[in-house]
Symmetry: D2
Subunit: 187 residues, 4 copies
């Protein structure tokens, strides 16, 4: 889905190409239960919800403004299977149905707590994280090593053309690490 289709405020947004790769790495099923943690504008929640008509998405976003944006986007796209939870992770998971999948888009400082909390809810959860800060990358690799789990680590560097007269000039976007771990086959 194109970035400009979403209602956005000043809230940062996972870019189209990174979103497509991240959702692909989630390996959602028709009836999965996904926590979208640090949902931002909700672009991942909505694109994922569309791929699982019998599934449920919980968009967990502590910021009130951002969670309003998720609601507006849910309205716009008619994705009734998205529920907005304006709470902070990992505390905000309480009372929710156990997830089969989780996406971590925000890079708040609580990564270890969140991942630990998620694996406690479901040891076979499939977790995909977008990492921007090199220090967060270090922490997640440390966690992966300590827990003795396998993680797939991929970096994406996307550039997009803009037109200057008749010419296409490539504009570099920020590189993102996409980390995938867990899931039913234990990888």
């Amino acid at each position: 889905m194109r970035d400009e289709w979403f209602i956005r405020g000043a809230v940062p947004m996972t870019k189209s190409e990174v979103r497509a790769v991240s959702i692909s790495k989630l390996e959602l099923k028709r009836d999965s239960v996904l926590y979208d943690i640090g949902a931002g504008t909700g672009s991942v929640s909505i694109e994922a919800a569309m791929q699982m008509p019998a599934g449920q998405v919980y968009a967990i976003e502590r910021d009130r403004e951002a969670s309003d944006l998720v609601r507006q986007n849910r309205e716009k796209f008619g994705t009734d299977n998205v529920t907005v939870i304006c709470r902070e992770a990992p505390g905000g998971f309480e009372g929710l149905p156990a997830a089969t999948h989780a996406f971590l888009g925000g890079t708040g400082g609580h990564m270890e707590d969140i991942v630990s909390g998620l694996f406690k809810i479901n040891p076979h959860m499939r977790i995909v994280a977008n990492i921007i800060a090199l220090e967060s990358l270090a922490r997640i690799l440390e966690l992966v090593k300590r827990r003795k789990i396998q993680a797939e680590v991929v970096s994406l560097q996307v550039a997009r053309a803009w037109k200057a007269g008749e010419s296409h000039l490539m504009k570099g976007q920020n590189p993102v690490y996409v980390i995938s771990m867990g899931g039913e086959d234990g990888t």
Copy 2:
């Protein structure tokens, strides 16, 4: 979908991340009709077919061995809505239902003819191409300019970690241009 899930021979294959972005750019609907031109192993055909249960995919691949691979993968994934056409594009389009979408994965030399043929079948077709050769990039930009259409040009540079003992080392994949054009909103 993971690359290793597909049955492959020596046939080159669109890599997981590039496939996810390309299918996302296609903007498929539940009931779209997709031509996958130069289908190779059929990975794009099959991943796309799964996203459109009421749609049809025509995997057009001139190479007999490769088209056998597509059949094997169709079997493996049970995607009955994929039809394998062992013919060369653009001639091979004859007799097929008109496509709403097309993916060009191979970089045979007939790009202009193929794109012209596609737009003749359906002037609102959504076409996404993966381009590796710089000369093909030049030709497609020339075509876009001549036809006065807009194209979105994105380049993807993916790197994937492999483990050497306890360390993750990033291995660079080949950069790919993903070109998207056409579609119902005329972009």
Copy 3:
């Protein structure tokens, strides 16, 4: 040399890493004669001049403001072997000592004329070009093919960290093609 060492106005500037690679590809000798065509701030002229104490650099820049910047930077770094020529290429080559090397940083529309002009002056000239626009890339590959010369084509995607609190966040720069051709060994 660091970008912030140079006096800059609004004039675009070859970034440090791309400059280092481009000057390396030039394969300058102590006593080379370099045309820096579309010199901008003069950063390539000055960094190159420092590597060839017995050589000469001609910074050819049609824009008056930019050519003033080159003069200021020459002053700042004391590189007396840089001569500023406020003329347009290829006409501006007239009357200058024949170059052994040329750098094309700007992507004005005259690439073919300029390269042709350069090879007329010295068929063994070593030419390095920075290309941003995909259409310019197409034109230079066409030229290379027509002239039946070999060219080395390299693309650089650089990202640079900035600090947000204690974290390093990578910021993507624009990808650049560096094309190298010619030289004494005829490659």
Copy 4:
């Protein structure tokens, strides 16, 4: 300098573009004293030596075969100001003239010890490291934070064309982090 100019065995080698950027980040002077730690084939030693005719390079390489390669390359390029030290860092620094600059190309496990050893020899040393493993990146960022020094962190993703018939196809190289720290201005 081109990679193919160097005599190489099976020893891994810093690629031309990364070498150019790394040497540029070292900010060598005519008379600098450089330790090239984990010198490999000696490509950095030799290219650096050529840029500082009044300087000294100590190529520190524990592997006997590799240090022989450095000697052969020194011979080939006539860079008499390169001294080969077949010892392991940081112990191997003993008895050498104090360095003003150091390059870390190898990613042995002793990074912290080596950097600590270097700053003990000269607190204003300019140190540039090439990092491939994400775990080494984590360790060097930890070190930078603990020592409260500034580091410039740059990532390079280079792709190089090869020719298939008349076409240029881009081949991705492995991404490398180039970390620069220290130096006379204390950055």
